[in-house]
């Protein structure tokens, strides 16, 4: 099978890929922190997170930090698996190009 065919469509956008990598590295990250890290607007980030949620790659949890509402995002088990497969496929594509 072609390596390009193994890429996961949900992570084919670089913002969603960056969200996946950040969440894999840190566990849980707040919406506000993701927005700052990625330099996106609320609407833009929300749309990408919704796509990840719809694909069951990301789960959200609402909480309060110092009496302020905070939305936390984390990769699901399926999200971890999909991201790993996607990264492996990217590696194959790059190896194939070299």
């Amino acid at each position: 099978m072609n390596a390009l065919d193994q890429l996961a469509t949900v992570f084919d956008h670089r913002v969603r890929l960056a969200i996946g990598v950040l969440l894999a590295r840190h566990g849980e990250i707040s919406f506000a922190r993701l927005k700052e890290q990625l330099g996106l607007t609320d609407g833009n980030l929300g749309a990408h997170l919704r796509k990840l949620e719809d694909a069951d790659c990301v789960a959200l949890r609402r909480d309060f930090v110092e009496r302020k509402p905070v939305t936390w995002y984390a990769l699901t088990k399926g999200g971890h698996r999909t991201l790993n497969l996607h990264l492996r496929a990217l590696q194959l594509v790059i190896q194939g190009a070299e």
């Binding site: 840190h26 849980e28 302020k68 594509v93």
Partner: protein, 194 residues
Amino acid sequence: MVADESIRDDLNYVASTVRRQEYRSGVPAIYFLWAAIVLVGFSLPDFAPVAAGPYWFVTGIVGGLASWWLGERAGRKAGFNDKAMGRRYGWHWMIGGFGFLLAGLPVIVGQVGIVHGTSSFLLVGGVVYALAGVHLERPLLWSGLLMLAAYVVMVIFQPPYVWTITGVTIALSLAWAGWAATRGESRDPTDERA
């Protein structure tokens, strides 16, 4: 190959995004807490040697727990709930604490006297802090190297009040690290209204 170039661009974007969040300047409150603990604790062997052991036993545990609470709170406030990082910090300081206890073993079993044995605590402290600077938070490296330098001075020259002088120096370096971390703090990233 357009697809390859696009993938490379995407990966460069991801790499720069991940690098942007390296936030290891530390938690100012923890630095200030330990600056105060060290300032008092290091002067005790010079002025009230009997109180030094109980002081470090109590402040080691209470200070460790307070640091864990402050670190967890600062992480959540910064928008990260990083359990893996928390575990890494926990293991580092727990093994360091165990090393401190083991450093007292030769004194407890009577192999060396209390005067010669206490310098081992400085050696262990220096190694634990310097390694924390390498693996966790860079400002701790300087505190660790200061402790190691003080250990050398203590063993070779045995000058008076070296514990107090070392404590003041380490407390100043920790306070400086705390001040530097305060300056590095950005706006509150948990504020979703921002």
